[in-house]
Symmetry: C2
């Protein structure tokens, strides 16, 4: 399975970046284990081998640290999609390319680390809608906007027939990922999928999508 | 908007049922406000005007009370679906009937009380997968199983063309509900939808579904 982790490469680019990365990794583990309310800055500091003062200096309050590490997790997903979108917008064989995108997509979104963050954001979105909205904008909304402009381009080239490109983008992503993602959301983080299951979800999603959005 | 609440009628059928109902309603409010871990039996007792002993007598431990009230919320949804399913299995005009089902479905699942329970179950499913699984089985899995047998019946009558009826059922429900449900999960409980938006989600879902699953 492709690993989508935070991009460690950037840690070499700024002074203090390695300390920030260590704090963010430690904080993610503590937040995932104890939830937002239960997470203690003391424990994050101990896990990161840093002082509380260092954490405050780099991130400010717990709320800002939480927001920063959650959004950071989306960077890896975004990189996968940028490559896939370029491929898709210039595709001639839409079916083959869409299928490849769907296969990558369902694997990226069913990674345990992504799903645990997703659960955490949903859990806190009632109390901290600002964080949830930031995640939604940087994650699903951004992906849907990119996908929608790909679909518009494919429609201009006569390869798709699209009336509402944003709805079409949503149909594509939810058809592809809803079955496994919702199963994990409800049934817990130990639910696993075989490669064949993920392929089946992706292929059947593409079949339904193209039946609706391919020109006659 | 149709109200899907727990069926109060049953409260008259058993001795002690009114006390149980009062405790369950109070407990739901406390769980939703404070989360599972934060919810205190003392506060549930105070809100219900009952003693802690009465709560223990009727429900046992906090975990059992939580499971019971969460599953209870699905009863209302189930009743809506039973009626819709009967209508669907015997439909002659599949498009009109499916559209009616989709309109009911998207309204039932976007009710604030349903979405708050959904968030709560997802929030706790990492720590309490048993509860999440019970909810999944009594909710999405049961709806998908009923819908799948409707679709099989419609396929037998030549009105749909279905190879994997359970995947088709999932496609129908997630196409219909994923856009608004996910938006609320991430962006918080204050997100509201206009009737026109809900209609658009339902109608475009049915259009995509039928493009894929209607016989040529």
């Amino acid at each position: 399975m492709t690993q989508v982790e935070a991009p460690h490469a950037t840690a070499k680019e700024r002074p203090g970046a390695q300390v920030r990365r260590r704090i963010m990794d430690a904080a993610m583990e503590v937040f995932l284990r104890d939830g937002y309310v239960g997470a203690k800055t003391d424990e994050i500091a101990a896990a990161a081998g840093a002082s509380k003062q260092t954490i405050y200096k780099h991130f400010g309050r717990k709320e800002q640290l939480f927001e920063e590490i959650v959004l950071d997790r989306l960077v890896g997903i975004d990189q996968i999609f940028k490559a896939a979108m370029t491929e898709l917008a210039t595709a001639d064989d839409v079916e083959t390319t869409l299928r490849a995108v769907a296969h990558k997509f369902v694997r990226a979104l069913t990674q345990p680390s992504q799903l645990r963050v997703r659960r955490l954001v949903i859990a806190e979105a009632g109390r901290f809608p600002k964080l949830g909205r930031a995640y939604f904008e940087a994650g699903p909304e951004r992906v849907h906007a990119s996908l929608a402009s790909c679909f518009e381009e494919l429609a201009r080239r006569g390869l798709l027939r699209i009336d509402d490109s944003l709805i079409a983008a949503n149909h594509f992503t939810w058809l592809t990922t809803s079955i496994p993602v919702n199963k994990v959301m409800f049934c817990g983080d130990d639910v696993a999928f075989t490669e064949a299951e993920l392929d089946h979800y992706a292929d059947s999603a593409v079949r339904v999508f193209l039946a609706a959005y391919r020109p006659d």
